[in-house]
C-alpha cells in the first residue's frame, strides 16, 4: 500500500466526505479531477485549497471562448521575431527566446509538483478538451520549432472546472475523476458562513439563511443566488451595521442576491402578497 497525502480541506475551505474521496482518488490515481456544479459553489476555490494543503504552486489557466489548446502549451511569437529581424534587435537565431510557455507548459516543465487549474473549460470551443487529451494523459509535449521534448518529472495535479454548460466528450471524461458539487444544505451553509464571517451574531445568521433559502426556493427565479452571493450579502449587511433582517419586509441590499431585473420584480410581487398579473 503506497502512502500519499490525504486532502482534508483547509481552514478556509470546508469539504465533505464525497469531495474528499474524489480529491484523494484523483491524487492517488494521478488523474485530472473534473469538478462540476452550479456557479458559486466554490469550484475554483477548491483548486486554491488543494494547492494550499499539498502545498504546491498553483498555476491558473482561465479558459476563454477564443482559447486554443495549443495556447496552453506554448506560443511561438513569430511577429516579434519578424520585427526583431527587421530592426536588428536581439538574437533572432535563438528561437527559444520567442517560445513562451503557456500554463499547461509551465506545469509540465516545472521540476516540482504543481497544481494546475483549468478554469471553466466549457467556455472554449467544443474541440478544446479533445485537443488536450494527449498532453494531459502523458504529461509530455514537444516544441516543434526547437525539437525540444518536455516531460513532467512530477505529474501536476490537474483540476478542471466546468459550469455544467456543455457536454464534454466521452474520451475526455473517461480520463477524469468526476465530482459534482452539491448545493450546500442549511447545516453545511452555516459552517461555510462561520468560516467567512466568524463571530457573527447567531440570530442574524439564522435570519439571513432563512431569507436566502426562501429566495432559492422561490419559484420562477431566473438566476438563483448562490453561496458566494450569500457571503457577499452578509458582508454588506455587516458593513452597513444591520443587526436584524425582517423576513416579511423588503430585504436590504437585495441587489447582491438577485441579479436579474425579472427576479427583482418577481420578488416584489411576492412580497406584495400574491401574483400581480401584468399585461
Amino acid at each position: 500500500m503506497s502512502t500519499f497525502l490525504r486532502f482534508r480541506g483547509t481552514d478556509r475551505y470546508l469539504t465533505n466526505e464525497a469531495l474528499e474521496a474524489s480529491v484523494n482518488s484523483a491524487l492517488a490515481l494521478e488523474r485530472p479531477l473534473l469538478v462540476r456544479g452550479e456557479p458559486g459553489t466554490g469550484k475554483t476555490l477548491l483548486a486554491e485549497a488543494i494547492a494550499e494543503a499539498l502545498p504546491a504552486r498553483l498555476i491558473s489557466w482561465n479558459v476563454k471562448s477564443t482559447t486554443r489548446a495549443q495556447d496552453g502549451l506554448y506560443v511561438y511569437d513569430t511577429v516579434q521575431r519578424l520585427y526583431d529581424s527587421r530592426f536588428g534587435d536581439g538574437d533572432i537565431r535563438d528561437i527559444r527566446r520567442y517560445i513562451k510557455l503557456g500554463p499547461l507548459g509551465q506545469a509540465i516543465s516545472a521540476g516540482e509538483r504543481t497544481v494546475l487549474l483549468i478554469d471553466e473549460i466549457d467556455k472554449a470551443d467544443l474541440e478544446f478538451p479533445n485537443d488536450l487529451l494527449h498532453e494531459l494523459d502523458r504529461m509530455h509535449f514537444s516544441i516543434t520549432e526547437t525539437g525540444d521534448e518536455i516531460t513532467a518529472k512530477q505529474r501536476p495535479m490537474v483540476i478542471i472546472t466546468s459550469n455544467n454548460e456543455k457536454e464534454l466528450p466521452d474520451a475526455f471524461l473517461r480520463r477524469c475523476v468526476f465530482h459534482f458539487i452539491d448545493f450546500p444544505d442549511r447545516e453545511f451553509m452555516k459552517r461555510v458562513v462561520a468560516v467567512h464571517h466568524p463571530g457573527l451574531d447567531d440570530g442574524l445568521v439564522d435570519q439571513t439563511l432563512q431569507a436566502f433559502f426562501d429566495l432559492r426556493n422561490m419559484r420562477g427565479l431566473r438566476k438563483r443566488p448562490s453561496t458566494s452571493e450569500l457571503i457577499d450579502w452578509i458582508a454588506v449587511l455587516k458593513k452597513a451595521g444591520i443587526a436584524a433582517v425582517k423576513l416579511d419586509q423588503a430585504l436590504p441590499f437585495l441587489g447582491t442576491l438577485l441579479k436579474k431585473e425579472q427576479d427583482v420584480v418577481a420578488y416584489a410581487d411576492r412580497l406584495a402578497g400574491g401574483r400581480k398579473y401584468r399585461s
Binding site: 500500500m1 473534473l34 473517461r174 477524469c176
Partner: protein, 392 residues
Amino acid sequence: MFIDFIYELRRNKVPVGLQEAVALTRALAMGLHDSSLEGFYYVARSILVHRESHLDPFDVTFASYFRGVAVDAKKIHAELLEWLRDPKLRKELTDEERALLKALDLEEVERLLEERLREQTERHDGGSRWIGTGGTSPFGRAGTNPGGIRLGASSGGRSAIKTADARAYRGYRSDLVLDVRQIEIALRKLRAFSREGTLEELDLEGTIDSTAKNGGELEVVTRPPRRPNTRVILMMDVGGSMDPYAHTMSQLFSAAKRSTHWKELRIYYFHNCVYGAVYPTEEFREPVKITDLVADCGPHYKLVLVGDALMAPWELLGAPSYGESEKGAAGVSWLVYLREHFERSVWLNPEPPSTWGGSTVETIGSIFPMFELTLDGLSEAIAELTRGSPRR
C-alpha cells in the same frame, strides 16, 4: 467482487468500461475507501461516473446491488401495497395485520420505501413531501406504525445505501424532459463558424507568407474574424392536442430565442400540419406562404418542426380549408416539399416514441427524421442536423 456491479451499471446505462474498472481496483488497492461501504460508495462514484446525468442511475444500481434485493415493484405483496396506498381507512389494525406488520423486517420496509419514492415521482413531479408526518403509513414521522421508518430526521452519518437511496441527483437525469438551460446547451451544438465581414484579425500564416514573398519586408495580412453561420427555421405546432405541451414548447422557444450563436433564427407557427402557409405569430395572422419562404431561404437553412404529428388522417392526406391553404394541396405534400427543399430537417415530437406507431405520426416519421423532445432526443436531432453531407 465488484465486476458484477460494473455489469449491473452498464445494464443501467452508465457507460463504464475496462479503464474505470482498473482505476477503481487501483484505488481500492491503495485503500482509498477506508475499508468501508461508505468510502467505497464515494470512491466508486467519483471514478465510475463522469457526468451528473449518470449519478442517479448509479445511485439506483448501488442501492439495489448492495442491498442484494432487486428493485422490482411486482415482487411486493399487492395486499401490502393496497394497505400502504390508503392508510386512513385502516386505522384500526386487526391482530392479524399487526402480526403481519411485526413480521416486516427493516430491510423489507426500506425496500418498500424506495418503491414508494419511485412510484411517487412517477405520478407527481419530483417532490417527496407526500410522505408526510403523522398517520399510519409506515413512512413518515410521528406515525403509529410499529414497523415504520422515520424520515427527515438528521441522524449524523448516513449510511452509503441511505445516501444512494436518497437519489439526490434525480433532477440531473438526461432522459427526462428538459429545462431551458439544458435546451440552450443542446442547441449550442448547432453552431458553425465561417469567416465573413471586415478584416479585423491578424492572419499569421498569411503574414509570414507575404513577408517572405516580399523579400523580408514585413507585410501584415488581416482577415475577417470567425462568426457563427448557422441559420435555423423553427416551426411549431400550437393549439389542440399540443396544449398539454405548451410549457415544454415555450421552454424550447425561449431557449432558441436566447441562443446568440446563430446567424439567423426564424420562428413560425402552424396548426396540426403545414398547409401552404405558416404564421410568424401565435395569433395566426399575416401568413407567410411556404413557396415564398422556400424562395427566401436557401437549402442550407436547418429546418426544425415541432409537433405531436397526431391528427385525423384527412387532415394530413387531404386539404382542409382552414388557414390559407393554397391550391388545395394536401398537408403531406407540403411536408414532402419542405423536406426536399432543405438539406437538413428534423421533426421533434413531445410524445414518447412508444406512442408513435400507426396513425399519422408514422406517416410523418417517414418524411422527416423524428426525435423525441427530450435532452437525448434533441442531441440526436442536432447530430442529424449537423451531419456532413446532405442525405440526398
